[in-house]
């Protein structure tokens, strides 16, 4: 298992993937958090989908990591893409056969790859949090946001809990990406279909059909990072997401273990 993990990391650490992904995550989290502060008094809103987040809201203990929370959905889609690409590329490159010759225990190979990618996802969450919280601290003073509550025990407790929830949400997205990568065996199809479903189709469905959010995997997974919304509780989002993950995970694991490797 450790050998599979370390072997997978030799692929994950290549500069284009490692520096590229973490760099983009850092820059985007800084950008999105910056907009939260810089557009504070804008009529067009400063939050996601034009929401207005007031100076008073930002002054709450949750204000320290609000930008980071807003970025969680995008982190999830990045994790989905990385997990899907890293898995499906083994099929398109034909490298899976080499891996299976060196590690014929397929379940072990899959588990090692998954744990390695989860550790990569943890890095993206940490880098994103550093970028977002750093720029929040830098910009708060210039936009007259009171930061007294940010340094309270409550704020730190909430921050840790939020980091955990964002990580869970990111892992959930990544797991779906990996499962779809195994099922479709093509990185482009896996990423395109997954993102089209989560970002476009689910968006349209949840907007047009009342109460459907409760049943859509992408909506439930994103709610884990937000902790809850008016209609769906955190527990419901967690349980609902877990059911989807178990279904996708079981199908993908079954295919990975049983399917002939003929490419």
């Amino acid at each position: 298992m450790i050998r599979v993990f370390l072997s997978e990391w030799r692929k994950l650490r290549r500069p284009t993937l490692f520096v590229g992904t973490l760099g983009i995550v850092f820059l985007l989290s800084v950008l999105i958090t910056s907009l939260l502060f810089l557009l504070l008094d804008s009529d067009g809103g400063n939050g996601p989908r034009g929401r207005v987040i007031t100076r008073e809201s930002l002054a709450l203990p949750t204000g320290l990591y609000l930008g980071f929370t807003n970025f969680a959905g995008l982190l999830g889609t990045i994790a989905l893409s990385v997990f899907a690409a890293q898995t499906a590329l083994e099929y398109t490159n034909g490298t899976l056969r080499n891996l299976l010759v060196r590690q014929p225990k397929r379940l072990l190979l899959l588990a090692g790859k998954y744990v390695a990618m989860c550790s990569f996802a943890l890095l993206t969450v940490i880098v994103s949090a550093i970028g977002s919280i750093g720029i929040s601290l830098a910009l708060a003073g210039t936009k007259n946001v009171n930061t007294d509550a940010w340094f309270s025990n409550d704020s730190f407790q909430l921050l840790y809990s939020n980091l955990g929830n964002v990580y869970l949400s990111v892992i959930a997205y990544g797991t779906i990406g990996m499962a779809v990568g195994i099922i479709l065996r093509s990185p482009i199809s896996s990423i395109a279909i997954s993102l089209a479903w989560i970002l476009i189709l689910e968006g349209i469905l949840s907007f047009t059909v009342d109460g459907l959010d409760k049943w859509l995997p992408g909506q439930l997974m994103s709610l884990i990072s937000e902790s809850s919304n008016a209609d769906i509780s955190y527990t419901y989002a967690l349980v609902g997401s877990s059911i989807y993950l178990v279904i996708f995970g079981t199908i993908a694991t079954g295919l990975f273990v049983r399917r002939d490797v003929s490419n």
């Binding site: 050998r3 599979v4 370390l6 072997s7 030799r10 692929k11 290549r14 284009t16 993937l17 590329l89 490159n93 034909g94 490298t95 056969r97 080499n98 891996l99 299976l100 010759v101 060196r102 590690q103 014929p104 225990k105 049983r258 002939d260 490797v261 003929s262």
Partner: protein
């Protein structure tokens, strides 16, 4: 070393490998011959645990292919050409596999040197020529210091010098006790290096045994010359009496007969007062034998 019994793979109505049965002796180079779509790669994949057989079985190093984890640590393989990660260097690609298999990184350096890629080890795999990719594939197959080496078209894309190097490498590996199972569509290549052959056509094994036996069994020819051209008709008559087909070709007589007939022919000729100035044994090429066995008119 490798033994298959009624190894079969069906994809729906199509039988890719049909009750393949063969044995590969230890310490030899065994060629795996057959036209495209004959079932060579599917057979190799079944031997490596990548494809599940529909029926039958096989053993490698005395372990069933149902438990590839028992023998694959001692098996090196390159299947359907070299497959690596394009953005990684050749060295890094080998390290990915070395780490996975638990082999020391020193082995990577040794093998890069062995296949002549030491100076290009840090170049990305995507910049490699076909020949370099092939060499890296052979290096990856040798990572475990294998007892059994399974190679699919290892000389593909190599220039004549590269082919010669690979041929010598395989011979030296076989001489050191490694059993090599190598497929190639270049039959003349296998004729030179293979001690044994497994010939497949339409999923069925149509021959397995020593290369010498195969070539000897298929239309060997004796080319003879008498001390004068007039002797050829008498020699033709001698061969015909022994039920061998013989034809005169210029100043020579070509007899379709096994090597063992040469001594008898010489004796009969001497009894008739004919002195032979030439007895040459002309074995068919592997390609000729292959087409004869498969009934292909080429």
């Amino acid at each position: 070393m490798i033994a298959a019994q009624n190894l079969t793979k069906r994809y729906g109505d199509i039988t890719a490998v049909d009750h393949a049965t063969f044995d590969i002796p230890a310490g030899s180079i065994t060629g795996f011959v057959g036209p495209n779509g004959a079932g060579k790669t599917t057979t190799i994949r079944m031997l490596l645990g990548l494809v599940e057989p529909s029926a039958g079985g096989a053993q490698i190093l005395d372990s069933s292919i149902e438990h590839p984890e028992r023998y694959l640590p001692y098996v090196g393989a390159m299947i359907e050409g070299p497959a690596f990660y394009p953005p990684l260097s050749g060295r890094e690609n080998l390290k990915v596999l070395a780490k996975l298999g638990g082999f020391p990184f020193e082995r990577v350096e040794t093998l890069l040197d062995l296949v002549g890629l030491a100076d290009r080890g840090d170049s990305k795999f995507k910049t490699y020529s076909l020949g370099m990719k092939q060499r890296l594939g052979i290096a990856a197959a040798l990572l475990p210091n294998p007892k059994v080496l399974i190679l699919d078209e290892p000389t593909n894309g190599l220039d004549p010098a590269g082919i010669h190097e690979v041929r010598n490498l395989l011979r030296s590996l076989a001489d050191s006790g490694i059993s090599i199972f190598v497929s190639s569509h270049i039959l003349s290549e296998l004729e030179v290096i293979a001690d044994h052959l497994v010939v497949v056509d339409h999923g069925k094994v149509i021959f397995h045994g020593s290369t010498k036996d195969l070539l000897a069994a298929h239309r060997p020819k004796l080319i003879v010359k008498g001390s004068s051209t007039g002797d050829l008709a008498a020699l033709q008559e001698i061969a015909s009496q022994e039920s061998f087909v013989a034809r005169i070709d210029g100043d020579r007589l070509i007899i379709s007969a096994p090597e063992s007939y040469a001594a008898q022919l010489n004796k009969r000729a001497f009894e008739r007062g004919i002195v032979l100035s030439l007895i040459q044994i002309d074995l068919p090429t592997l390609e000729e034998s292959f087409f004869e066995m498969t009934g292909d008119e080429r």
